[in-house]
């Protein structure tokens, strides 16, 4: 590990710990009441959903319009698992962990099942097939009434997602995605976005890496769905409509396709904004869609493009500026 990377790691670790401690202090001081805490939890769930979609759309370059479908699969699996374990005497944390792992695995398997046929097709077909899948999974949930409660919804889900565990799960998801994108597997995934034919011509097993990227994205969407289920303690198929998929996509596009930190910042902004602008809610989707079109015309790469935000980067920039100023003074 070279020193620059080590330094970055340590800085990031300290920042994450500081954010956690800061929020904890504010909660116990009563500055952050449960209303704000709820919003923070939804921000983190949106971060998980957006960063995972970013893997499929930003890094792998495959436009997915059914992310809410994977979220739904994970949410239901996680909820059903937790309901089954509710009276087993296990501690809540253990139940949550088992449920989320189950959610991740099932969602990833669903992702593979959809991905293997769909990823053989060109990009725009994938968009349509994932869109169709997102709609279909709702019909399926509605029809599996014995298991899912159908349209009536699923009640009795233990409410075991708290600020603490959602925070650490989110941190873990981001860490995994960051490391994945900065490994040989990640490079292979990005090479497919850049030029699929060239990637294949230099020996990248494109089908395998497409399915891998897609499955991991689906799996984490499932984790996001699971946390959602355990925070809300109620699920019904309507939660996972097409609009949910679009909202996640807007976060990814705004943040920058191919930038995890971009997705994080965009998730924070786009979760707080509608809360802050409650009285404008009629216009929210109008503005979202408007922003989407404007973004594509004027800054299709989003806030961050494919770049990642880093403290080192800020420092470097500061240093460059300082040196430039110094040089100027000398001259």
């Amino acid at each position: 590990m070279n020193r620059k990377m080590l330094k970055n790691y340590i800085i990031n670790l300290i920042v994450v710990a500081l954010i956690y401690a800061g929020i904890k202090v504010l909660i116990s001081a009563g500055v952050i009441n449960r209303y704000y805490e709820g919003i923070i939890i939804f921000i983190m769930i949106n971060i998980i959903l957006a960063t995972s979609l970013n893997l499929a759309t930003g890094f792998l370059g495959q436009l997915t319009l059914g992310h809410a479908g994977f979220m739904a699969a994970g949410a239901y699996v996680s909820a059903i698992t937790a309901i089954a374990l509710k009276n087993s005497g296990m501690p809540n944390l253990l139940i949550l962990i088992i449920s989320l792992i189950a959610a991740a695995i099932v969602s990833a398997l669903v992702g593979i099942a959809i991905g293997i046929p769909a990823l053989r097709l060109r990009g725009d077909y994938l968009a349509i097939i994932t869109l169709g899948f997102g709609e279909m999974i709702r019909v399926i949930i509605n029809n599996l009434r014995g298991l899912t409660g159908g349209a009536q919804g699923l009640t009795g889900i233990p409410r075991i997602a708290t600020f603490d565990n959602v925070f650490w799960v989110t941190a873990l998801v981001i860490l995994v995605l960051y490391r994945l994108t900065h490994s040989r597997q990640g490079r292979a995934i990005v090479s497919i976005r850049e030029d699929e034919i060239a990637a294949e011509a230099v020996g990248v097993k494109t089908t395998y890496f497409k399915v891998l990227g897609f499955a991991i994205a689906a799996g984490f969407a499932g984790v996001g769905g699971g946390l959602y289920a355990h925070y809300l303690a109620f699920l019904d198929p309507k939660i996972f409509g097409f609009m949910r998929s679009v909202e996640i996509l807007v976060i990814v596009v705004l943040g920058g396709m191919g930038s995890l930190t971009g997705s994080i910042f965009a998730a924070i902004i786009l979760t707080i904004l509608p809360e802050a602008l409650r009285s404008f809610s009629d216009y929210r989707m109008l503005l979202y869609s408007f922003a989407l079109v404007l973004m594509m015309i004027f800054r299709p790469i989003g806030m961050f493009g494919t770049k990642e935000f880093s403290w080192q980067g800020i420092y470097d920039r500061y240093k460059m500026l300082r040196d430039a100023v110094k040089r100027r003074e000398k001259a």
């Binding site: 349509i128 019909v139 399926i140 679009v246 996509l249 989707m285 079109v293 594509m296 015309i297 299709p300």
Partner: protein, 292 residues
């Protein structure tokens, strides 16, 4: 047998509306390789135009229909000029996201202007059943079917026999070559959007009359089904869209008639996926490889 024939008529009427909308998808895809997600919303806009004209004037059905088609054509061209043209050389994914954004934008614009509750389409066509032998056909169903076929024939003649129609085919074959041949590519693309949008609006007007309601989200499902129809028939091909439209309408009606109705959408999507896996270019499509 009578029951089956009756269902066949039902299927044809649904299918003809899908076919009209599918034509717009296919023409646009053929010419700029874009899935125009906003096409379903153009259909919705067409229905609202018809509604507004019908409640504020006493014009007959044909006039209402034609004016709505013209207005929708203008809307389609404006969308193309404002949102799609600046992105003509951008990556496909950007263009696709723009189209999705445009679709949501129009939907929410309608939601804000007209509110969510459905508007009741005035009775533009007197409704009564007509008996053809043992089968009963509604006047609306019959009108839909006849109008769709008339416009499809007009389109076919236009594309094959007229100069702008031939230019459209040339541009969809090879944009650069068409440019070199002196064809005004921008104008041709706009023309394609205009025609596609007008046909979509016709679908919307007929849809509004058939189902008596006009509402902001009405374009989503028929839009999606029509898109499936276009892909099924072979996207980019005009006969493919017609074939696909009728096929989807039939499959839907037959499955509703003989299977539990709630699975219909799943069946339609299932068929799409199977067709794409076996023949990615659709029923009438030719296989082509990306140039290396």
């Amino acid at each position: 047998m009578v029951l089956f024939l009756q269902q066949l008529i039902n299927g044809l009427s649904v299918g003809s509306i899908y076919a009209l909308i599918a034509l717009g998808y296919t023409m646009v895809y053929g010419i700029i390789k874009l899935i125009n997600f906003a096409h379903g919303e153009i259909m919705m806009a067409g229905a609202y135009f018809a509604f507004l004209i019908a409640v504020s004037t006493n014009l007959p059905f044909v006039a209402v229909m034609l004016i709505s088609m013209v207005l929708a054509a203008v809307l389609g061209v404006v969308i193309e000029r404002v949102a799609y043209k600046p992105l003509r050389n951008a990556p496909r994914i950007s263009l696709l996201i723009t189209a999705i954004g445009m679709s949501l934008f129009l939907q929410n614009l309608a939601l804000v202007i007209f509110r969510a509750d459905p508007k009741i389409m005035p009775t533009l066509i007197a409704k009564h059943p007509i008996n053809i032998g043992p089968i009963q056909v509604g006047t609306v169903t019959l009108t839909t079917l006849v109008l769709s076929i008339i416009f499809m024939v007009i389109l076919d003649v236009f594309v094959k026999k007229t100069k702008p129609g031939k230019a459209m085919r040339a541009v969809s074959e090879d944009k650069d070559a068409a440019l070199l041949m002196g064809i005004n590519v921008d104008k041709t693309i706009s023309l394609t959007f205009a025609i596609g949008s007008a046909l979509g609006a016709l679908g919307g007007v007929l849809y509004g009359i058939t189902y008596t309601q006009v509402y902001p989200t009405m374009g989503i499902l028929p839009g999606l089904k029509a898109f499936i129809a276009a892909v099924l028939g072979g996207i980019g091909l005009i006969p493919g869209a017609v074939l696909g439209g009728f096929a989807v309408g039939m499959v839907e009606t037959i499955s509703k008639a003989y299977l539990p109705t709630q699975w219909t959408d799943a069946i339609v999507f299932g068929i799409l996926i199977v067709v794409l896996l076996i023949k990615p270019t659709g029923i009438l499509g030719k296989n082509e490889k990306e140039k290396v």
